[in-house]
């Protein structure tokens, strides 16, 4: 087999995967972190308890999380068309990826934020902080290291999801693996994509761990 002709294909696939995963991660954190904060803050032991709101939000998040990704992919097609104007390609795949990862990251962020010692919140309150100041001066900085591990975990999930999304027209390594590896029996291509996916996951985990350790002063 002539690898040199495959390399551009594999590189393009890798690039598509990275693009999907990175952009999705960006939006996932952008939507998921506020959602996680909202879940934490409105909890009955939180800064601004709002029982009914918290239960409804929690139920929505759980429902979204229990939906199998492959079903979500199909369900959101009309929505995707509305948002990005098309339903195929890497950019279109970002919509279901963000929708799937956001509730996941919201829960992960919530559990990180909850780990912050309540005494710190009380100390901040005793100094006259607003709830908002407590969120960005206490909760987020104090859970940053744990949040970063959560982001790494989310990126890893997104790498997995993106391979699935790729299979139904999103491009990327998943797409390559299916089209060449599965449908055309090009086992080497399949193996190459799997190796790259493994390296990506390992790399993300390693980077996450290192960064989290750097940040933590505990």
């Amino acid at each position: 087999m002539d690898w040199s002709s495959w390399i551009p294909t594999i590189l393009a696939g890798t690039w598509d995967t990275l693009y999907m995963v990175l952009v999705s991660t960006l939006f996932t954190v952008l939507f998921g972190l506020p959602l996680g904060i909202l879940l934490t803050v409105t909890d009955k032991d939180g800064l601004a308890p709002a029982d009914a709101f918290n239960s409804v939000l929690g139920a929505i998040v759980n429902a979204a999380r229990s939906l199998p990704f492959i079903i979500l992919l199909v369900l959101v097609i009309p929505f995707t068309r509305l948002v990005v104007g098309t339903t195929i390609g890497s950019t279109a795949a970002i919509v279901p990826l963000v929708l799937a990862a956001t509730p996941f990251f919201a829960r992960v962020a919530e559990s990180s934020l909850r780990e912050v010692d309540h005494g710190l919140v009380e100390a901040a309150q005793s100094m006259g902080c607003t709830d908002w100041q407590i969120i960005y001066k206490v909760l987020i900085p104090e859970s940053l290291s744990s949040l970063i591990l959560g982001v790494a975990l989310t990126i890893i999930s997104l790498i997995g999801y993106s391979a699935m999304a790729g299979a139904i027209g999103g491009g990327g390594l998943g797409d390559l693996a299916i089209r060449y590896g599965y449908q055309r029996y090009e086992t080497e291509i399949m193996a190459a994509t799997v190796v790259i996916l493994i390296l990506l996951v390992q790399g993300v985990q390693y980077a996450g761990n290192t960064l989290a350790r750097r940040i933590s002063k505990k």
């Binding site: 100390a123 005793s126 002063k217």
Partner: protein
């Protein structure tokens, strides 16, 4: 400086109501160190947390710095809290910030002028004796050092009042003493009013001017240390002074317990007694200690001879407390 009037606090837990505070009334004067002591579960933390409204009272009124905190709208309550410092048993320092950054925290909250922050932080660090630790993280400090940071942080916005919730309960005895000395020093130098709660009698002994004993959400005793010490039936005197067990060496002699306070504790009272009266004194047990500003001694003695009653009368006239055993 702090006035608490008929404070009540109930917690409802599922189907039952827990009364944590059941009508507490007390006044903390400006510039004094007021201690609230009581067993675990007595309601001490609830009381001190009501003072800055970390806990919302069920009923009652609390006035701090002339402001009725119990009826303040949220924004003004936050302003009021900036004038009430608080320190905690577990220090509650931000682990992600250095010592200097922790102290900067309240300055950020009160919008202290940026260009003056550095100087203010240096000033506070020197106040608590931690200049060389400015860039350390809390995890690199000992318990006593962490509490010093907590104190510096609490004082950063120049509060009139400091609330201390078991601030030395997680510290060893030596460190406790050094922290209490620091608080005493700050009280004198800055005129800082301190309300502290503790379950340790030692804390009361070392720094409090006045004390209240809390039991089951009620104050059962209150007064200056000096006056409570001289009352033999007070809980404080029983807790702070040693309780000698009753023992008789000679059945003919009169066994008495003498409590010395203030000047009398520094005088050779017994020696002059034996010189001036026709008696013999046999010391059975004794103790001399410092309580607050005063030295307080307690002696169990047996007195025999012809002039026992006259000698005892003499002691009482000197202002000593004499109890027959």
């Amino acid at each position: 400086m702090i006035e608490v009037i008929d404070l009540k606090k109930n917690y409802s837990l599922k189907d039952q109501i827990i009364t944590a505070l059941d009508g507490v009334t007390l006044t903390v004067e400006a510039g004094e160190i007021f201690g609230v002591v009581g067993l675990s579960g007595a309601g001490k933390s609830t009381l001190i947390r009501c003072i800055n409204m970390l806990e919302k009272p069920t009923s009652g009124t609390i006035v701090v710095n002339g402001q009725e905190v119990t009826s303040l709208p949220p924004a003004e309550l936050r302003k009021a809290r900036q004038r009430i410092g608080m320190i905690f048993q577990h220090f509650n320092l931000l682990s992600s910030r250095t010592v200097a950054q922790n102290i900067a925290f309240p300055l950020e909250i009160v919008n202290y002028p940026k260009e003056k922050r550095k100087d203010r932080i240096a000033e506070l660090l020197s106040l608590v004796g931690l200049m060389e630790k400015a860039n350390a993280y809390p995890s690199q400090l000992s318990g006593g050092q962490k509490q010093r940071v907590g104190i510096a942080r609490a004082l950063a916005s120049e509060p009139e009042v400091l609330l201390s919730d078991e601030a030395t309960s997680a510290l060893d005895p030596q460190t406790t003493t050094s922290i209490l000395e620091l608080l005493r020093d700050l009280n004198r130098r800055l005129g800082l009013t301190i309300l502290l709660i503790t379950h340790e009698m030692n804390v009361i002994r070392q720094i409090c001017d006045r004390v209240a004993v809390l039991q089951d959400g009620r104050i059962i005793e209150q007064g200056t240390i000096d006056e409570l010490i001289t009352r033999p039936d007070s809980l404080i005197s029983r807790a702070l002074l040693p309780q000698f067990e009753k023992q008789t060496i000679s059945s003919e002699a009169t066994s008495v317990t003498i409590t010395f306070m203030g000047e009398a504790a520094d005088q050779p009272v017994l020696a002059s007694l034996v010189r001036n009266y026709d008696i013999d004194v046999n010391i059975i047990a004794g103790n001399l200690q410092k309580i607050g500003k005063n030295r307080v001694g307690k002696l169990q003695v047996e007195i025999s001879g012809k002039q026992v009653n006259a000698a005892l009368l003499h002691l009482m006239n000197l202002g000593l407390r004499v109890e027959k055993n």
